[in-house]
């Protein structure tokens, strides 16, 4: 019964979205207040209906209702509760429903927090949100309906892919979707601004919190995914350049560029049309990501529902929204007049360079990701583009960004004195360079990424510290009085430095050891000695596992006893590897136990991963910086008090 209610409310959401799309848009065009006022209740209604529908599906999973086809295919009654709930979005249909739910959530949030937006702008924003919602609701209902019933329900389900039976599934996709879908707000604001024919500081100030929120979620989502892959896939890689990872990374890169260019619009009223274009592209990459994951055009480890019909549907959605928005952009962009002018050496130029490098690196990822398809179709040359390509082609741009970041961040607006900035940063640069040279001398045949990455990481970190110190007038007491935006900038940039440092450290100084160890055997890995104490068979709620007990010691002192497992899930008939990891600030010890060997003993892989946690820790810092900036008092006050009248805020800078 509740299944049908959920199904019904999903279908009802479709006409509501249609109304939300059409009436407010007409109202805004004709300046008809009554029609424009339809937008808010429609957006709230849509959220309510999709929430009901999502709850119904969740209940189906929780109670293991195998009359639902989706539950039968993707769930099993013996599964722990956490995975029954997260299993709702561990499949194609459920995850698109989550997508639509989050989209409606953002629409509702725009109603609640956007009370002070000018009526016309708000009506247009909500109307575009309605259009996106309509497209995805139609996609769900016509190609991916989660509420299909089975005539003869089986006694039990087929279970969830064992790799997905992990707390990671509970958090990684929702955060990622919050990010993807959050970029639809930037898109809606951009289209609304093009229709209005006006972009000003006030507009940038409304858009930035939404973009910032989406960016924070995307950052957390990507970091969680990377961490999950690290401990789950069994060899401790943290980034694979898999098409689906790229699908989430491209919008992140463009959103990062957008965040920075929106600052220029807000402070200096220039780069307007560029910012609009970025907002459109950021959401375009989100849609493209959705297409890549669900169409089966590219093979990926995230093998989702691969259905050409669905792929075609999303491609049409992508073409409609991008084609429409870009056409509108071509027609109206010239209306956006820049106000501020700036010299070659200025914060504005620095941010332009930031944008160029970020967008070019997103472009490199894009070309690499679709090249297998292009090459096969256009040149009849099937091939694959793997991690080595991306490492080589992508890294130089990010290193360029890293080198220039501390300098650009310290330039003043409009016209900066390069000499003064260089002098201030001299100490930071000196320390970073000498640390890198020292390392270069110490290591002989290792990858150059170690010293280079260490230099960049330190340079960004120390540069950010210098800038914050400078901003506080070199007085500790004034540090606390700095604005949230200043702290946000510092924390995010420092986090970026930490990520680079972590990657460089991990890649350059990882130590590995593979051997067949007998029970009781002790061996040395780096500075640690590892003893294989026992291997036992254990049983989990829905799996059997071969569990090793390994004792890790350093200089005769116990560090930790680790229990890596090899799990077998009888329902799915598929093994997974659970590494035993001793987490540490300076290093992770990462142990994997393999198969029993014919001559006795077990394969044991040991990895010492220096600074591994700095990668995700740094990413969390980046997101945290976003939060600080988001809750900056000035932004909040501004969001509340600004009225529709455009005010030049150049003086604020």
């Amino acid at each position: 019964m509740y299944i049908e209610l959920g199904h019904l409310s999903l279908i009802l959401a479709l006409p509501v979205a249609l109304v939300q799309m059409i009436l407010p848009m007409i109202g805004a065009q004709r300046n008809d207040a009554v029609l424009m006022r339809v937008a808010a209740p429609a957006a709230l209604m849509q959220f309510l209906l999709i929430t009901l529908s999502f709850l119904a599906l969740t209940w189906g999973f929780v109670t293991s209702d195998f009359s639902l086809q989706l539950v039968t295919i993707n769930s099993h009654s013996a599964k722990p509760m956490l995975y029954k709930i997260s299993g709702v979005w561990g499949n194609h249909e459920g995850s698109v429903l989550l997508w639509a739910l989050i989209l409606a959530l953002f629409g509702a949030a725009a109603v609640v927090f956007g009370k002070d937006l000018p009526d016309r702008l708000r009506a247009r924003v909500l109307s575009v949100q309605g259009a996106v919602g309509l497209a995805f609701l139609a996609f769900i209902i016509f190609t991916s309906n989660p509420f299909l019933r089975l005539e003869f329900p089986p006694l039990n389900g087929q279970g969830l892919n064992p790799l997905l039976q992990d707390p990671g599934l509970a958090f990684h996709p929702p955060f990622l979707y919050l990010g993807y879908v959050g970029l639809s707000m930037a898109f809606s604001f951009a289209v609304a601004a093009l229709l209005e024919g006006r972009v000003d500081a006030a507009w940038a100030r409304w858009v930035r919190p939404w973009t910032l929120a989406a960016w924070i979620f995307l950052t957390i989502g990507i970091a969680l995914g990377s961490w999950w892959a690290y401990y789950e896939l069994g060899w401790g890689g943290f980034w694979f350049w898999d098409p689906v990872e790229n699908a989430s990374f491209m919008p992140w890169l463009v959103a990062t560029a957008l965040l920075h260019s929106a600052i220029v619009v807000e402070k200096r009223e220039t780069l307007k049309s560029w910012t609009i274009l970025l907002a459109i592209l950021a959401f375009g990459f989100s849609l493209m990501g959705t297409f890549i994951v669900r169409s089966g055009v590219l093979t990926s480890v995230h093998a989702f529902a691969n259905d050409p019909e669905r792929g075609m549907f999303i491609l049409i959605i992508l073409a409609l929204f991008m084609g429409g928005a870009l056409t509108l952009f071509a027609a109206r962009a010239h209306v956006m007049e820049s106000k501020g002018v700036f010299a070659l050496v200025s914060r504005e130029s620095g941010l332009v360079l930031n944008n160029v490098l970020l967008v070019v690196s997103a472009f490199v990822v894009f070309v690499g990701t679709i090249w297998p398809v292009v090459s096969e179709l256009a040149f009849d040359r099937p091939l694959s583009v793997g991690a080595p390509f991306f490492n080589t082609a992508f890294t130089p741009f990010i290193l360029g960004l890293a080198l220039f970041l501390p300098i650009g961040a310290m330039f003043s607006w409009k016209r900066a004195k390069a000499g003064r900035v260089v002098k201030t940063l001299a100490l930071a640069g000196l320390v970073a360079v000498s640390a890198a040279i020292l390392l270069w001398a110490m290591q002989t045949d290792r990858s150059a990424l170690g010293p280079v990455g260490l230099f960049c990481g330190l340079w960004i970190f120390l540069g950010s510290v210098t800038e914050l110190w400078q901003r506080a007038g070199r007085k500790p007491a004034r540090l606390l009085r700095l604005s949230g935006a200043d702290w946000g900038k510092f924390i995010s940039h420092a986090g970026f430095g930490i990520v680079i440092f972590g990657i460089a450290g991990l890649v350059a100084w990882e130590e590995e050891d593979i051997r067949i160890a007998q029970i009781g055997e002790t061996f040395e890995v780096g500075a640690f000695s590892v003893t294989l104490e026992a291997v036992e068979e254990v049983q989990g709620p829905n799996y059997f596992a071969t569990q090793g007990r390994l004792r890790v010691e350093q200089d005769g002192e116990l560090i930790e006893v680790l229990h890596p497992e090899r799990r077998r899930y009888p329902v799915a008939g598929m093994p997974t590897t659970e590494a035993g990891i001793s987490n540490g600030l300076m290093r992770d010890i990462y142990l994997v136990v393999g198969d029993a060997q014919a001559g006795g003993g077990y394969t044991v892989r040991s990895h010492i991963k220096p600074f591994a946690n700095w990668i995700w820790g740094g990413a969390i810092f980046m997101a945290l910086g976003g939060f600080f900036s988001l809750f900056d008092r000035r932004l909040r006050v501004a969001a509340g008090k600004r009225s529709g009248a455009a005010k030049s805020t150049g003086a604020q800078a």
Partner: protein
């Protein structure tokens, strides 16, 4: 020349191999084994998705690793071994597309776009030199005067 530059670049950002190689597969000669492991890095497991044979646990990857080692013992060169795999499984079997023919587009796309955008910005900034935006409009002048008078 370009290829040389690329190989230097590749070497610069080289990452360490992540092995799935089983101890009993390894070659006794450490020099050959090192070569084998760098070959494992660039040969893709055709049974898996975006994984090389060095990190994959699939059966095919295991066979491929053994084949790499057998060919090395036969005294074949690295290029020869890669060619051996390409002949049998197509270019798909390589992790990195070869730098020739249409693939040149793939490799130069990024640098080219950087040059184009920097050039575009340069031209744009020359064309649109301050057109009155540096000076204030009449209304703004009036407002400024008003403020200064207060």
């Amino acid at each position: 020349m370009i290829r040389r530059a690329f190989s230097i670049l590749m070497l610069l950002f080289l990452t360490l191999p992540a092995f799935a190689v089983e101890p009993e597969e390894m070659l006794a000669d450490p020099l050959l084994e090192t070569r084998a492991q760098s070959l494992d890095e660039v040969i893709r497991c055709v049974q898996c998705q975006s994984e090389n044979i060095a990190s994959s646990n699939a059966d095919w990857a295991k066979d491929a690793r053994l084949m790499v080692r057998q060919l090395l013992l036969d005294g074949r060169g690295d290029q020869e071994i890669m060619q051996f795999f390409v002949e049998r499984y197509g270019e798909r079997v390589l992790m990195t597309p070869q730098l020739n023919g249409s693939n040149v587009i793939l490799w130069v796309a990024g640098p080219l776009m950087l040059l184009l955008s920097l050039g575009g910005i340069f031209l744009y900034s020359r064309k649109s030199k301050p057109s009155g935006s540096a000076s204030l409009s009449a209304a703004e002048e009036a407002r400024l005067k008003e403020l200064l008078d207060e």
